[in-house]
């Protein structure tokens, strides 16, 4: 299996996110050169770091961006039927969801936030 080259896509300067608090959900849309669009949410469940998840509840294929963040369990809950996903790794915490949500690695370099789109 050939090792895929890891490419980091720049999102924005970290200061752009200073207005967001822990527990907020930031929806972003990333359009790659190939024309493929990704709808992603950035969530913080502690003061420390951001996590990036697919903006898709795997139960009904609807968006997660209006979901509620549970800080203690670090999970995001889809408002429509109560499905919960772990923010850090996308795993299902509560039904009726079954499949985990895709997550994307993030890194901060020189005050700029990068996301890795190839999983």
């Amino acid at each position: 299996m050939t090792k895929q080259k890891v490419t980091w896509t720049e999102i924005a300067n970290v200061s752009e996110f200073s207005g967001f608090n822990t527990g907020d959900v930031v929806p972003i849309e990333v359009e790659q050169d190939t024309g493929i669009k990704h709808s992603i949410i950035l969530v913080k469940c502690s003061d420390k770091e951001w996590f990036a998840l697919d903006n898709l509840c795997t139960h009904d294929n609807g968006p997660l961006d209006d979901g509620e963040v549970h800080l203690k369990s670090c999970a995001i809950e889809c408002k429509r039927h109560g499905a919960q996903f772990n923010i850090k790794n996308g795993q299902v915490v509560r039904m009726p969801a079954i499949h985990p949500v895709d997550t994307y690695p993030l890194k901060i370099e020189n005050q700029i936030l990068y996301i890795q789109l190839q999983n």
Partner: protein, 407 residues
């Protein structure tokens, strides 16, 4: 360099934006029966952004013309069939009967939009004259005119009493197509229609096929959606009056495509019969949806409604949704439907491989067999024209699969 948009608030509703653009009231009613879980399946609302974008570039009609269908050089049209140039009295009658095509909530927005965008001079009417049999097969060809604009078409096929014809329609898509095909059949007319959506470029669109059949009329329609990189919503609606019968057969082959087929057959009066056979096969990130609605209204007797749906998933992240529905409001009916979904049988592939075919060839052959019965049904009683059209269909299939299929 990728483009990033940070949305500081929740994404806007595509319906809202389009409402503003078109200055129309709430569009949510366009898909009322989907509001329950609008994202569960390929949501035609996803077509709206492309619709809006093309709309901004302007509206145009496609080029719609009747072509010679046979190589023998005989004219396709004669006294039996008249294209566009029809007398005023007939036009009046035809327009009156347009009212019988009821709009459903789901389709009202697009239908209204189309009728507002198309003036009478752009209305394409094909008249099939009373008591006449059309010897040749008219072929209606629809092709795009301007790559970036929104193509809007209304085509009206009117069959007078006791007329008898076979018509082929070949549509080449533009980047966004809105097409309505009205088919009105007066008493005891017979019509065979074959509708081929060719594939030559990525495109999106919404297509309507609306039928209205008066007493004793018979229709047989073949719908062939062969798609590569296309997203479409196809509505097929049929009103059946007493003793009329409608037969639909269709295939969908999708590659990198999302196509939603919404069939609705209304049995309005007694002894009407319908038979729907639809086969889908999807591959490479495709999404095929089949809605088969048969409605038999209260107070009718002896209606028969059959639906059969078979789906093959050929692999690579594809998905099929099948929703065959029955709405029966009276007891004196025979209504049945069946749907089956699966993959190409490994056993059968093995059987063929053990007789010398390669894996790929075996799968191709089985896929061909899958479509064969539908195509055979569509071309049952034909000679001459059948081969040419069939060949065209197979050629399209080959193009999509990227492989040779020996016909």
């Amino acid at each position: 360099m990728a483009k990033i948009t940070i949305q500081k608030k929740i994404k806007t509703n595509p319906f809202e934006e389009l409402s503003k653009l078109l200055n129309t009231p709430e569009l949510e009613s366009v898909y009322p029966h989907r509001q329950m879980e609008p994202w569960r399946r390929f949501d035609p609302a996803k077509l709206l952004p492309a619709f809006a974008e093309n709309l901004q570039n302007g509206i145009t009609m496609s080029s719609v013309k009747i072509a010679e269908s046979s190589e023998s050089g005989r004219p396709a049209l004669n006294s039996a069939a008249k294209w566009k140039s029809v007398d005023e009295i007939f036009l009046q009658k035809a327009r009156n009967n347009l009212k019988l095509f009821k709009k459903t909530e789901a389709t009202e927005f697009f239908e209204n939009f189309i009728s507002k965008s198309v003036s009478d001079e752009h209305l394409h009417i094909l008249k099939l004259s009373k008591n006449e049999t059309c010897e040749q097969i008219p072929v209606i060809e629809i092709s795009p005119v301007d790559e970036n604009k929104l193509h809007v078409n209304i085509i009206y096929i009117y069959c007078e009493e006791f007329s008898n014809a076979t018509i082929n329609i070949i549509k080449k898509p533009g980047s966004f197509d809105l097409t309505i095909l009205y088919i009105f059949q007066e008493k005891k007319s017979r019509l065979q229609l074959r509708h081929l959506d060719e594939n030559n470029r990525p495109s999106q669109g919404v297509n309507f096929l609306k039928y209205h059949q008066e007493d004793g009329s018979i229709s047989k329609s073949g719908i062939y959606n062969l798609c590569n990189s296309q997203s479409k919503k196809v509505f097929v609606e049929s009103n059946l009056r007493e003793n009329s019968s409608a037969e639909f057969m269709g295939i969908f082959l999708g590659r990198y495509s999302n196509v939603d087929h919404d069939f609705l057959v209304n049995h309005l009066e007694s002894f009407s019969k319908s038979n729907l056979l639809f086969k889908m096969s999807v591959m490479d990130d495709s999404y095929g949806v089949f809605w088969g609605n048969a409605d038999i209204v209260a107070g009718t007797r002896g209606c028969e409604a059959y639906q059969q749906n078979k789906n093959l998933i050929l692999g690579n992240h594809s998905r099929v949704d099948a929703i065959p529905r029955l709405g029966i409001h009276t007891e004196n009916v025979i209504a049945a439907h069946g749907s089956a979904t699966g993959e190409i049988s490994e056993e059968e592939v093995f059987y063929m491989m053990s007789r010398g075919l390669s894996y790929a060839e075996a799968r191709k052959l089985l896929l061909r067999g899958f479509f064969e019965d539908v195509l055979r049904k569509s071309f049952e009683h034909d000679v001459d024209e059948a081969d040419a059209f069939l060949e065209r269909i197979w050629k399209n299939i080959q193009n999509i699969l990227g492989v040779e299929i020996s016909v």
